[in-house]
């Protein structure tokens, strides 16, 4: 199908974009990569009266490191994340998960900001933001504010962003010392949205005990889901296969609420969650130990 008619603006500064957004309010949508918005418009699921295309606003795509914080501009394409040496060194968890997002042609256009604002529960980047303690910088035409990832994602396709705000930047700490990472998912075909996905981070102390652990699931509820209790099972302990098994059982049985879809029942999703938790934790622990030496 074809999109319904709309009025099109193509501002060349962020201030102009913000003024247009505050003028048109709920009627308007920001157009970033268009890889979620345009399909929805083609289906007429979305019929915004006004589109504000921010592809010609300069300086919104960058990946920088400043004082152990990585700063990523909202219009940075998924493809730029995939080929960033800085990310591969300082945020390998994020870097490794990007090729799981859609296909090369989609990643060439799709942006990190668009994926986060879209807040699809099955999307990779929202889950990664939770795992990496990201903060998001948003602005309207009078003020700027920072939102922590857990407060940003408030439900299915729903975020804390107000109708007059634009997401500008994502900030995340570089990966801590002695920390290992892992991201895995199961999808029907390469590039499809995952049936289940898990991001794991584990920090191992000098004494061989676990000092920190984080587990985040995607497509496991109405937004990215952190399994805090499962991660806590590992804290302060020497890691064994049995311990990993208990964490995986706890996370997949008690801390996620998958809905199922045409490809997978909720039970199968829980099964996948358990298997993937075991695999990601095992890989993360191994990598943490390698990085200690």
């Amino acid at each position: 199908m074809k999109p319904a008619p709309f009025e099109y603006f193509c501002p060349d500064s962020i201030d102009q974009a913000l003024d247009l957004l505050s003028e048109h309010g709920d009627e308007a949508r920001i157009l970033a990569g268009g890889q979620s918005l345009v399909p929805a418009m083609n289906f007429r699921i979305q019929q915004p009266a006004v589109l504000i295309d921010i592809n010609r606003v300069p300086d919104l795509d960058y990946i920088l490191e400043e004082e152990n914080v990585l700063r990523i501009g909202a219009m940075t394409r998924e493809r730029q994340l995939e080929f960033s040496d800085l990310l591969s060194q300082q945020a390998p968890l994020l870097h490794e998960s990007v090729p799981f997002i859609a296909h090369p042609q989609i990643r060439n256009r799709g942006t990190i900001g668009g994926s986060l604002v879209n807040a699809d529960p099955a999307a990779e980047l929202p889950a990664l933001m939770l795992a990496l303690n990201a903060r998001l910088k948003v602005r309207n035409n009078s003020q700027e504010r920072w939102i922590e990832a857990p407060e940003f994602f408030i439900g299915m396709f729903t975020t804390a962003l107000e109708a007059d705000e634009i997401l500008l930047e994502i900030a995340l700490p570089v990966m801590a010392e002695r920390t290992g990472w892992s991201f895995m998912e199961v999808a029907p075909r390469s590039g499809d949205y995952a049936l289940m996905g898990v991001a794991a981070l584990v920090t191992m102390g000098e004494d061989g005990k676990c000092e920190g652990a984080k587990l985040v699931y995607l497509n496991a509820g109405d937004g990215p889901l952190e399994a805090k209790e499962a991660a806590n099972i590992l804290l302060g302990e020497k890691i064994s296969d049995d311990l990993i098994q208990s964490a995986a059982e706890h996370g997949s049985e008690h801390e996620i609420t998958p809905f199922g879809n045409v490809h997978a029942s909720p039970e199968f999703q829980r099964h996948l969650a358990q298997v993937l938790t075991k695999k990601t934790l095992t890989q993360a622990v191994r990598r943490a130990e390698e990085r200690k030496q």
Binding site: K2, P5, C10, V38, P39, L51, P104, Q105, I106
Partner: protein, 158 residues
């Protein structure tokens, strides 16, 4: 109808100026405004890959962009691949020889996705080839011959 906008879009090294409605998809612009029907439209929501073109040298879905967004940019379509009517591009030649197509509906999108892929890597592994093809659906050839064609093309282009 919303206000028409003027665009100047370079397609296969030739500049075209047109007045378009903002909601016109780039795929429809190429096919209906310019008559370049080599760019196919299968699903119009980004899944099938038949409409893939090059946008400033990188592969993209033309059904997920508006023509107004291409104003001032360079597009390359399957019509721009061969040097002249008598010579196919090495990728096209390889698809012909290795039976990389049957009905050919998916082929333009596949070729346009492979151009930037092979520009970066003329010695791809089978896994890399399959990953590069993951965004293009073929309903009749089966992917094996397509993978063979990519290998043949890479070999010839090295």
């Amino acid at each position: 109808m919303t206000r028409l906008r003027s665009v100047a879009i370079t397609v296969n090294n030739q500049e075209y100026k047109r007045e378009v409605e903002p909601r016109m998809l780039l795929s429809d612009f190429l096919r209906h405004e310019l008559g370049l029907t080599g760019t196919h439209v299968g699903c119009e929501h980004g899944v099938c890959g038949a409409c893939s073109i090059l946008f400033d040298g990188e592969s993209a879905r033309s059904c997920l962009m508006f023509a107004v967004q291409a104003d001032g940019h360079a597009i390359r379509t399957v019509e721009g691949l061969s040097a002249d009517e008598d010579h196919l591009h090495p990728i096209q030649q390889a698809f012909w020889e290795a039976h990389g197509l049957q009905c050919g509906f998916c082929t333009p999108g596949i070729l346009m996705s492979l151009i930037p892929f092979l520009e970066k890597n003329l010695d791809p592994t089978e896994e890399e080839i399959r990953h590069a093809l993951s965004g293009n659906l073929c309903r009749c050839t089966g992917y094996q011959h397509i993978v063979d064609a990519v290998k043949l093309a890479a070999e010839r282009m090295r």
